[in-house]
C-alpha cells in the first residue's frame, strides 16, 4: 500500500458495467514526508473518499476484493482514509530536529 492524495476524479459514462456507480479517482502518491512522488495514477474508490483527502490504496489482484461479488476490473483501489495529515507518524522526522 502507498500513501496518496486524492487530486481529481474521472467521469466516464461508457465503461465496463461493473464500474457503474463506482467513483474513479486520480491520486498523487506521497512519500513519508507527504511530498508528491512519481506520476499521478487512477484508483477506484472503495472508502468513500473526497477531493484532497489523504488516503492509501491497495494494488494488484487484491484491489478488486472490496467489490467482491462483481468482477470489478481494477488493479488499484483506495481502501482507507487516513484520519488527518498529522496521523502519519514519521519517527525519522522526530529524531531529526
Amino acid at each position: 500500500m502507498q500513501l496518496a492524495r486524492v487530486i481529481g476524479n474521472v467521469v466516464s459514462t461508457v465503461k465496463n458495467k461493473s464500474l457503474r456507480g463506482r467513483k474513479i479517482m486520480i491520486v498523487q502518491n506521497l512519500d513519508e514526508k507527504l511530498e508528491p512522488v512519481g506520476q499521478p495514477l487512477v484508483a477506484l474508490d472503495a472508502a468513500g473518499c473526497g477531493m484532497g483527502e489523504l488516503v492509501f490504496w491497495c494494488r494488484g489482484k487484491e484491489a478488486a476484493f472490496p467489490f467482491k461479488r462483481d468482477p470489478t476490473p481494477t488493479d488499484c483501489t483506495i481502501v482507507a482514509i487516513v484520519d488527518s495529515d498529522e496521523h502519519v507518524n514519521n519517527f525519522e522526522l522526530k529524531t531529526k530536529n
Binding site: 500500500m1 502507498q2 500513501l3 502518491n29 512519500d31 513519508e32 512519481g38 472503495a46 472508502a47 468513500g48 492509501f56 491497495c58 494494488r59 494488484g60 489482484k61 487484491e62 484491489a63 476484493f65 472490496p66 483501489t77 481502501v79 482507507a80 482514509i81 487516513v82 484520519d83 496521523h87 502519519v88 507518524n89 514519521n90 519517527f91 525519522e92
Partner: protein, 99 residues
C-alpha cells in the same frame, strides 16, 4: 514503484486510519522504508500491515504479494491488502566482497 515481492525494510512510523476496509480492522499500518541488504536506506517508502508486532526502528521483512500479505496479516486470504510485515530481522550476513 519497486516491484520486488519480498523486501528488506525499516519501520519508520505508522499511520492511523479509522475509516478503512474492514479487513484492516485491528491491524497496525506501519510506514516503512526499503533498505538494501547492506542496511543502506533507499528512498522508497511504503505501507505494510504488521503481522509480527514489529516496532519503531526494527528492520523487517515485507511480503509484497496480496495472497501472502492478506493471509499473514489477517489469517485468511481475500483481503485488499498487498503488503505485510512477515518477519523482524536479527542480522543479515553477506558474502564479503573480495578485497
Amino acid at each position: 514503484m519497486v516491484n520486488e515481492k519480498m523486501i528488506l525494510a525499516r519501520v519508520i512510523g505508522n499511520v492511523v486510519a479509522s475509516h478503512k476496509n474492514q479487513r484492516y480492522e485491528g491491524s497496525r499500518i506501519m510506514l516503512c522504508r526499503m533498505i538494501t541488504p547492506e542496511g543502506k536506506d533507499t528512498n522508497t517508502t511504503l505501507l505494510a500491515l504488521d503481522a509480527v508486532d514489529a516496532g519503531e526502528g526494527d528492520n523487517v521483512l515485507i511480503a509484497r504479494e496480496g495472497f501472502s500479505a492478506s493471509t499473514a496479516a489477517t489469517g485468511k486470504p481475500g483481503a485488499a491488502i498487498d503488503s505485510a510485515i512477515v518477519g523482524v530481522i536479527d542480522r543479515v550476513d553477506l558474502l564479503e566482497a573480495d578485497k
